[in-house]
């Protein structure tokens, strides 16, 4: 049986699919912080967060009428978010190949107040060492997606999700070094 919250969400999604702007706004308001957090974990760039989150939600508004299973809305939204971030990271990589930018132009330090603690900074540093696919996997788990949902989002089997998740956690552990542990 579907829970009340899921039923309500499905109803909002159906209204948004019919072009109801108040429903679309409700969905954006409901998910904006989760998507922004996911984008930050994926890109490690606070200056990308608003722009990429906006791209994700514009894609959502434009494509929501093609979503066949409104109950799968969350998985679908995070698939959009993941793909948008990976596209951005690919473009960034290409730009680095074609433009004679120095590394200092790509690794702009976070403005004061963007990073809360040493642990958070260490986590960001460790995540930056992982492949974007692995970052997406870890961020999706932290976002509360189940293995089955992640397998659907990434289009791989549940067993592959578990194996890749295990490897990604190992890599994260290798690179995670809070300064007070040195």
């Amino acid at each position: 049986m579907e829970s009340t919250a899921t039923t309500e969400l499905t109803a909002v999604v159906r209204r948004a699919q019919k072009g109801d702007e108040s429903a679309q706004k409700e969905l954006i308001t409901l998910y904006q912080h989760r998507v922004a957090g996911f984008v930050y974990a994926m890109t490690n760039r606070s200056d990308y967060v608003e722009d990429l989150s906006q791209q994700v939600f514009i894609k959502m508004v434009r494509a929501i009428d093609r979503l066949q299973a409104p109950a799968q809305f969350e998985s679908w939204l995070f698939r959009l978010a993941r793909n948008t971030c990976i596209d951005q990271l690919r473009r960034q990589k290409l730009r680095r190949i074609f433009l004679p930018f120095g590394e200092e132009h790509e690794n702009i330090p976070e403005p004061p107040g963007a990073v809360d603690s040493e642990e958070l900074d260490a986590l960001r540093h460790a995540l930056a060492q992982l492949r974007p696919q692995d970052r997406a996997l870890l961020a999706l788990v932290q976002e509360g997606r189940s293995h089955a949902e992640i397998s659907d989002i990434l289009n791989i089997s549940v067993a592959a999700v578990k194996a890749r998740l295990h490897r990604a956690r190992e890599h994260l552990r290798e690179h995670y070094q809070p300064q007070h542990e040195d």
């Binding site: 702007e21 642990e119 986590l123």
Partner: protein, 85 residues
């Protein structure tokens, strides 16, 4: 920690983000999509190709008619010469 990371990302959004997105989405709908750009480009290329083929065909027909007239004139001249001999 992850919660802190997600919260740091969430704090990057300005107030009124949803309204801003909806306005941007409306503008994006008004702009022609990549698909419509491609369709227009393909249609333009087809029209240009048809025009080039038509003009080429006309030019070939005109050249053929002119060559034929030249040959007929030559045949007449040669025929007259043979008769005079």
């Amino acid at each position: 920690m992850w919660r802190g990371l997600f919260a740091a990302g969430a704090r990057r959004l300005r107030p009124g983000f949803a309204d801003h997105v909806l306005r941007a989405a409306r503008r994006a709908v008004e702009l022609p999509s990549l698909r419509s750009h491609m369709v227009l480009s393909a249609a333009t290329a087809t029209v240009c190709l048809c025009a080039v083929l038509f003009l080429h065909d006309q030019s070939v027909d005109r050249d053929d008619a002119r060559n034929l007239a030249e040959w007929e004139r030559l045949v007449e001249i040669v025929g007259d010469d043979v008769t005079n001999v």
